[in-house]
């Protein structure tokens, strides 16, 4: 199988994730889309690791996973807190920063 297809898939996943982040309102869905983008990046790392024949890409993908795990912990905590105080998980409702 042509190795380029992995890159196409990675790009496709990343685009879907990015569009999801921009268009969706539900914080949980936005969060999932961010995870999708991270995983698309991971796929690209692993593919390039294969192409270059060394392990650097695979190591990088482990770092990404660690960062993603941390991000999930912090991010979910924020979402839950906002939901508790505002009874809504919509990111558009949490627009207090402009004031």
């Amino acid at each position: 199988m042509d190795i380029a297809n992995y890159i196409y898939l990675s790009a496709l996943l990343f685009t879907i994730g990015a569009i999801g982040v921009v268009v969706r309102r539900n914080a949980i869905v936005v969060f999932m889309c961010v995870e999708l983008m991270l995983n698309a990046a991971n796929l690209a790392f692993v593919t390039f690791s294969r192409v270059h024949g060394n392990l650097s890409g695979q190591v990088a993908s482990f770092f990404t996973m660690v960062v993603a795990a941390c991000e999930v912990v912090v991010g979910l905590a924020i979402i839950v807190t906002i939901y508790r105080s505002r009874r809504s998980a919509s990111v558009d409702d949490a627009s207090l920063l402009k004031r």
């Binding site: 982040v21 309102r25 949490a94 920063l97 004031r99």
Partner: protein, 629 residues
């Protein structure tokens, strides 16, 4: 030159007293007036002691100096705060402290109902200190300090009752008109410094003989401007009439006897400059001649007794200024007229104050009449001053004014005839308006207000008037006997007893002419004012209307200087607001508008931030891609 250690006390004592009374405030209310009067009297005693000490010294040693401290010392330029008491200064010291003390005594009674009497006396002492510094300074710079000091004291005292807006305005007017003159004095000092590198009288006198005619004329003209401002001479005379807003003792001391004669002092002191510049002398003579007629004409139409006397003061100082412009022969006569005028005019002002005191502060002479019967002492002292100002022999004015008329005729040629004619005409008009004052005030029928109950003033008021009246009678004879004052002043004004100009007319003829015109003036006034309407008649000649309005000097000043000046400042304010501020405001406005449009990007929506981030990354990638290609 003798060195003295007492001169500084002449200035320090009244200055200390003024500061003390102002700082202590109400605590000093009970004794402030007595303290100030004692200080003034002690200044007179010190001055008299110095005078007798001077009599005991001869020639060069007569003048005394005292260096108080080193004031300015820059490179080769040095000005000391030092005092000079010479034959000229001592005349002024005695006049200022003597008349000043009498007026202090008078004011104790005159101001007794005023709750701010202590402040009044503090200002009077401040005036005495500044005026003495003016006449005792040994350089133009020291004189300038005193010059400004008397301006300040005059301002404070004219506006003493500043709860009345008109009086506060009068004070401001006097101050502003004086500023114009002060600019002249400071310019004269600057020119003297650039030309001669020194500002002391002695230094300038030494260098003046070798200086260019242009520089001397410029200094002379600027000094004349200064004198015109302080001495209410044409064209800066308009403030003196309004200055009568001050309490009457102030009018007597500052605006009749002493401060307004500072211009005469300045010109006499600067005789070495005027003697070397005939152009400047001519200007002085012209200003003096114009003012003596101007003041006299204004005096004929004023119903306010103080304003009539103020116009007379203006006119009499015109005589003095004219005399100083006549060269070395004139200075001594100018000073003699200044001293005699100090007596009789201060006396008449105090008399006017006494009448006002008895008439509930009424100043309109049309509401007086027949006051001579109820206030005999005031009438007598005023009458003696009247005879003195008319120049009736043997009263004081006869000796001083006739000498000026004589000297004016002796100036020679057309100039002599013009000046002599002007002084004679002035004498006639003086006789007319002073007789008018006497007739309207002391004789005739009662035209009093219903509430007026005139009565003779208390002893503290009539005693100073009596002393001044004695001065009005005797001072001229004493100063003139054996040419006492002329000889006394000779070292200062450099008069060499040679009668270089031949006499135009013998003195006896001049005196006779003067007496005849005075008699005409008196007769005319007596006939004209046999009956006096209480309200000033409206159907009068255009000339009287003009004189009532100070010959339109105020209107002229307003039209030529004040309104264009106001327009100029209003235009500058508009320019400042519209152009300068407009630019500044435009910068702020541009920033505000651009910021509020850019602010829309910061809308608080996470999704739009994410979109911008994505677009940014895409742009970055595109840029990198472009570069690597």
């Amino acid at each position: 030159m003798t060195t003295s250690t007492n001169l500084v006390f002449l200035i320090a004592l009244p200055l200390f007293s003024a500061g003390l009374l102002l700082l202590l405030g109400r605590i000093a209310d009970k004794w402030g007036h007595i303290f100030a009067t004692l200080v003034s009297a002690s200044v007179f005693v010190i001055g008299a002691m110095e005078f007798f000490a001077m009599q005991g010294r001869e020639g060069e040693a007569r003048a005394a100096t005292q260096k108080v401290f080193e004031w300015i010392s820059v490179g080769t330029f040095q000005v000391d705060a030092s005092l000079l008491l010479d034959q000229l200064s001592i005349c002024f010291v005695l006049l200022i402290s003597g008349v000043g003390t009498l007026i202090h005594i008078y004011s104790i009674a005159y101001m007794s109902h005023d709750r701010d009497r202590r402040r009044f006396f503090a200002y009077l002492n401040l005036f005495i200190a500044a005026m003495l510094l003016l006449v005792l300074g040994d350089s133009y710079l020291n004189l300038y300090v005193g010059w400004e000091g008397v301006g300040l004291a005059s301002y404070l005292l004219i506006g003493f009752w500043n709860q009345k807006p008109a009086y506060a305005t009068a004070a401001k007017k006097a101050f502003v008109a004086n500023r114009v003159g002060d600019v002249g004095l400071s310019l004269a000092i600057m020119i003297a410094f650039t030309q001669f590198g020194t500002v002391t009288f002695a230094g300038v006198k030494e260098s003046a003989s070798g200086a260019s005619a242009g520089a001397l004329t410029a200094i002379g003209a600027m000094l004349l401007l200064a004198a015109a401002g302080k001495s209410a001479q044409f064209p800066l005379q308009s403030w003196l009439g309004d200055a009568m807003a001050g309490p009457t003792p102030v009018s007597a001391l500052i605006h009749a006897a002493t401060m307004v004669t500072a211009g005469v002092y300045l010109i006499t002191r600067s005789n070495f400059i005027f003697d070397a510049s005939p152009t400047a002398q001519l200007m002085v003579v012209i200003v003096g001649a114009i003012t003596l007629l101007f003041g006299a004409l204004i005096g004929t139409a004023k119903d306010d007794i103080k304003k009539a006397l103020a116009a007379s003061t203006m006119s009499q100082i015109g005589y003095m200024i004219l005399a100083t412009g006549l060269g070395p022969v004139g200075y001594a006569f100018a000073i003699m007229h200044l001293l005699t005028h100090g007596f009789f005019k201060a006396g008449m002002f105090l008399g006017a104050g006494s009448v006002m005191h008895g008439m509930n502060d009424e100043v309109n002479m049309r509401r007086y009449g027949a006051i001579g019967k109820v206030m005999p002492i005031t009438a007598a002292t005023f009458g003696l001053g009247y005879l003195a100002i008319l120049g009736v022999p043997p009263f004081a004015g006869f000796y001083s004014k006739d000498k000026i008329i004589e000297t004016a005729f002796n100036a020679g040629g057309v100039e002599g005839i013009l000046l002599g004619g002007a002084t004679l005409l002035g004498a006639a008009i003086t006789a007319f308006y002073m007789t008018r004052v006497i007739v309207l005030t002391f004789t005739g029928t009662k035209r009093w207000d219903e509430n007026a109950h005139p009565h003779e003033s208390p002893f503290l008021m009539w005693a100073p008037m009596a002393v001044l009246a004695i001065g009005s009678v005797a001072s001229g004879f004493l100063l003139n006997s054996g040419s006492a004052l002329v000889n006394w002043l000779q070292p200062v004004v450099n008069e060499h007893h040679e009668h270089h100009a031949e006499e135009f007319l013998p003195p006896i003829v001049v005196s006779a002419m003067a007496l005849i015109v005075v008699a005409i003036g008196v007769a005319f006034a007596v006939l004209k004012y046999r009956s006096v309407p209480v309200v000033a008649p409206e159907n009068v000649t255009g000339f009287t209307k003009a004189a009532r309005k100070d010959l339109y000097q105020d209107s002229f000043n307003e039209a030529v200087f004040m309104r264009p000046g106001q327009k100029l400042t209003a235009g500058l304010v508009t320019t400042d607001y519209k152009v300068i501020d407009g630019l500044v405001r435009m910068v702020g406005w541009v920033v505000q508008i651009s910021a509020s449009s850019i602010r829309n990007i910061q809308n608080g929506y996470v999704r739009s931030y994410a979109l911008i981030m994505v677009l940014g990354v895409l742009a970055l990638v595109a840029a990198v891609w472009m570069v690597t290609l």
